[in-house]
Symmetry: C2
Subunit: 154 residues, 2 copies
C-alpha cells in the first residue's frame, strides 16, 4: 500500500458505508493515484493489466465510482463520450483548457469560478456539489501545436 493517507480515507469511507474492505479496491486506488494525468476506466484497467494486476475490468469500473464518491479522484468530461478521472488527492482544485487542434490539455486555477458557483446556486435554490468548466480553444502558437506540426511534417 503506497499511499497510506489515501488508503485511510478509503478505508474509513468503506467502513462508514458498510462496504467491504478488499485488496482489489486498494490496488485500484494506488493505480489511480499513480496515473500521470487524466485516465478513463479502461485506460487504467489496461495499465494495471500491463503491470500484471489480476483485478478485473468490472472491479476497476466499480471501484472508480467509489473513489469518486470519497473525493480521492475527480470525474472529468472533455466533450468526447468518455468518463475520465484524475487524482484529486492532495491536489488543488482546477479546471481545464483543451486545444481542439492538438488535443493538448492545460490546467488552470481561477478563484472567481467557485464564487460564481455559489452565487448561482444561492440564487436558484440549489446546494452546490461540484462543477465542470472546460475551455475549448485553439493554440495561438502554431509552432508548438502538435496538430499543425504533424500536418506540416506529413
Amino acid at each position: 500500500m503506497k499511499n497510506d493517507q489515501a488508503s485511510d480515507i478509503l478505508r474509513e469511507y468503506l467502513k462508514r458505508e458498510n462496504n467491504r474492505i478488499t485488496p482489489e479496491r486498494f490496488e485500484v486506488l494506488d493505480a489511480a493515484l499513480e496515473f500521470d494525468g487524466h485516465f478513463s476506466a479502461d485506460e487504467l484497467y489496461i495499465s494495471m493489466k500491463n503491470r500484471n494486476s489480476r483485478v478485473s475490468r468490472a472491479t476497476v469500473y466499480k471501484t472508480l465510482e467509489i473513489l469518486a464518491s470519497c473525493d480521492l479522484i475527480s470525474p472529468r468530461n472533455f466533450g468526447d463520450n468518455m468518463k475520465r478521472y484524475e487524482s484529486s488527492f492532495k491536489r488543488q482544485n482546477h479546471d481545464h483548457l483543451i486545444c481542439m487542434d492538438c488535443g493538448r490539455i492545460v490546467e488552470f486555477v481561477n478563484p472567481k469560478i467557485a464564487k460564481i458557483q455559489t452565487d448561482i446556486c444561492d440564487e436558484l435554490g440549489f446546494e452546490p456539489s461540484s462543477y465542470s468548466f472546460n475551455l475549448f480553444t485553439r493554440c495561438k502558437n502554431k509552432k508548438t501545436c502538435k496538430y499543425y506540426n504533424d500536418k506540416t511534417n506529413s
Copy 2:
C-alpha cells in the same frame, strides 16, 4: 422549410465547405430547431421517425455535426456519456445547472464567465472557441424535487 434564416446559414455553410445541399440536411435542421430542450442524436432520430420522416440514423448523426460546425446548434455534455445538442439559433448563450437527485436542468446566464474565458485564453496563449460550464447540485427544496417526491410516493 420552416426556418428560412437558419436554412440560409446552413446553405451558405455547405456551399463554402463544398458540401452538397440535400433535403435531408434541412429536414434534420428543422427537427433540431423545433425540438424543445436538449436532445441526443438518437432522441432526435426517434422523434423524426415518429413524424414519419424517412431520414436515416446515420444521416441524423452526421448532420448534427455539421449543424454544430456552423453554430446552429450547441453540443452539451451533462456528465453522462451521451452527446447532446440544443438549438442555439436566435438563443442567448447560457450555462446549465443540473440537480443530481431529480435530473432537473436549469439554464442560467452569467456574464462573468465569458470574461474568465478570454482572460485565461489570453494568459495561456490560446484562441477561445467555446466553453462548457455545468453546475452539479442538489435541490434545496425537497418538496419540489422530483427525486424526493418519487421516493416518498412509492
